[in-house]
């Protein structure tokens, strides 16, 4: 028994000596390249932390400056005139909701139908490729140009700024988001499910309405929620389509207030009251946007 042990020990000894002769595999932390790596790692951490600062600073300011002013009065009252105290932005909340609602009503059916064409009916046709490309280009489309376009098409012909025009401008911006999200959600529906439905003798419409849309619903809804969140916070296209109004809206064809435009108008005013209201309106706007964002995340998480 002792002989093999001995040989093993001597073998180990030889191995150790051989290892000693080779350069160490352990990297010294003081070596130049290790140091460089460490420094860069540190810088990346710093950069990541710095990048998170603005978000927290914005949220802090919203709650401190806006939260203190938030009350039932600010949520329901009409905007104050220059030297008035008090007041609120109830009409702007209503206006924002109405215009985002109009935009959703327009962009949702159109976007989903277009996505059906892209994802199910003719995914490889030339029209589908063009539309897909254009939808992607439109997601980077400056929102103010949607306003310019709708101004030229609707405001000039109707001769008035209106909630309708604002809604259409927002719809132009929501459309590509809805299309791309819905297409992706529908493309993820397993082919087996569609084949099974076809095998039962379903027409394509039946397959789409009864299998693809219900299965892809959560993905589509996620996209819709994100589109709504984006539209609610968007103000540039409303500047000269909906304009602003100091009163609650009574018809869809008159100038309409919105939270974003109220913030824009009040931010430049030299009165403390208006500036406080701008912060409070920002808080409300951010909360609305965040609610839809969180909804999107929750719906999206459920299935996948």
């Amino acid at each position: 028994m002792s002989a093999p042990d001995l040989s093993l020990e001597s073998n180990l000894h030889n191995l150790e000596r051989a290892l000693d002769a080779r350069p160490s595999l352990q990297r010294s932390p003081l070596e130049a390249r290790a140091l460089k790596s460490g420094v860069l790692t540190g810088l990346t951490w710093v950069a990541a932390l710095i990048a998170a600062v603005p978000l927290f600073s914005v949220i802090y300011m919203l709650f401190v400056e806006g939260g203190s002013r938030l009350s039932w009065e600010t949520l329901t009252a009409l905007p104050p005139s220059a030297f008035d105290l008090g007041g609120g932005f109830g009409n702007a909340i209503v206006g924002t909701i109405v215009m985002v609602g109009i935009a959703t009503l327009i962009s949702l059916p159109l976007g989903i139908l277009a996505a059906v064409y892209l994802a199910i009916l003719e995914p490889d046709s030339r029209l589908a490729h063009t539309v897909r490309f254009l939808a992607k280009v439109l997601t980077g489309f400056p929102s103010i140009l949607a306003g310019v376009f709708v101004y030229a098409v609707m405001v000039v012909t109707m001769k008035t700024y209106s909630a309708l025009a604002g809604g259409v401008a927002l719809a132009v911006l929501m459309l590509p988001t809805v299309i791309l999200a819905a297409e992706q959600a529908m493309a993820m529906v397993p082919k087996k499910m569609k084949d099974a439905a076809y095998g039962m003798g379903c027409t394509r419409t039946q397959v789409i309405l009864k299998v693809v849309l219900p299965t892809g619903a959560s993905g589509i809804l996620t996209g819709v929620m994100l589109a709504i969140a984006g539209a609610a916070g968007n103000s540039a296209p409303l500047l000269f389509t909906a304009l602003f109004s100091d009163y609650y809206l009574s018809s869809l064809t008159e100038p309409t207030a919105s939270l974003a435009i109220l913030i824009f108008n009040f931010s430049g005013m030299p009165y403390d009251n208006q500036i406080q209201l701008a912060w409070a309106a920002s808080l409300v706007l951010v909360l609305i946007v965040l609610v839809f964002n969180i909804l999107a995340r929750l719906i999206g998480r459920q299935k996948y």
Partner: protein, 325 residues
Amino acid sequence: MVSRPFENLVQSGSVSGPPSGGDYALDRGFRYLAWASAALILALVAYIVIEIGSKALPAIAQYGLGFLTSSEWNVQTGQFGILPQIWGTLYSSLLALLLGGLFGIGIGIFLTQDFLPPRLAATFRTIIELLAAIPSVVFGLWGIYVLIPLLRPVANWLHEVAGGIPFFSTSLSGPGLAPAALVLAIMILPTVASISVDALRQIPYKVKEAAYGMGTTRWEAILKVMLPTASSGILAALVLGFGRALGETMALAMLIGNSNQISLSLFAPANTLAALLASSFPEAGPVEIQALMYAALALLTITLIVNAVGLAVMKLATRKFEVER
């Protein structure tokens, strides 16, 4: 096509039936509707370009290309030119890209190269995505009441110490290029970060393992293997971020100062195409509207080109990996 392929089935008395004539009609109708909706997008984009183009036509005829190189914007004399706005748009967007791009790619690396445990990385990604959810006007408000007061002493100190350098040749009195570009950088950071994260994630894990196996440090692997491999995706991230910066409106209209001058100074007020549209459009008369339409057309052209280039680069990047796999 056979007109009634399921006739036998109908006569067999089975519970299940073939699609009825109504089903066929519905099917055809629905498909046409879907086709029409898709075609509508095409029509919409064409309509946007044609509408803005045709409204700009009188101004194009009147001012010609001199519009792009003149720096006068005077409603009284009817002289219009957008050189300062083009300069301001490009300058502010480039500054934002420099900063937002650097941080955005840094965060892309931070989130994909095992700096954080997966769950923390997901949380951090959410934080960055929430940054994208903050509306532009809110950033504008924050810029006016937080960023500018914070920046002013630093800017004025830089102006006193290093006023000889053209970048610091003026002092910051309020709105100006620096706060505008900073906010712009914050706003494009999520775009750049999320596209670079996607690009870096596309790299097969074995590529990284191979680099580590060769004995590289983490950063040698990142700088010499990961970033070059993901380079086209990251380029796409930068181009699309740039496109976003070019068209950003409200925060800039609130922060840049709306002054039609061309200056290298970071602290001087400036103007951008989008901010010009936002501030002048609501009160413009018919002649100025034509000029503004021309400016809108210029902005449309610039952003469409930048975005199309970005998407083409991104497509190239994705295709590269499809071939390699």
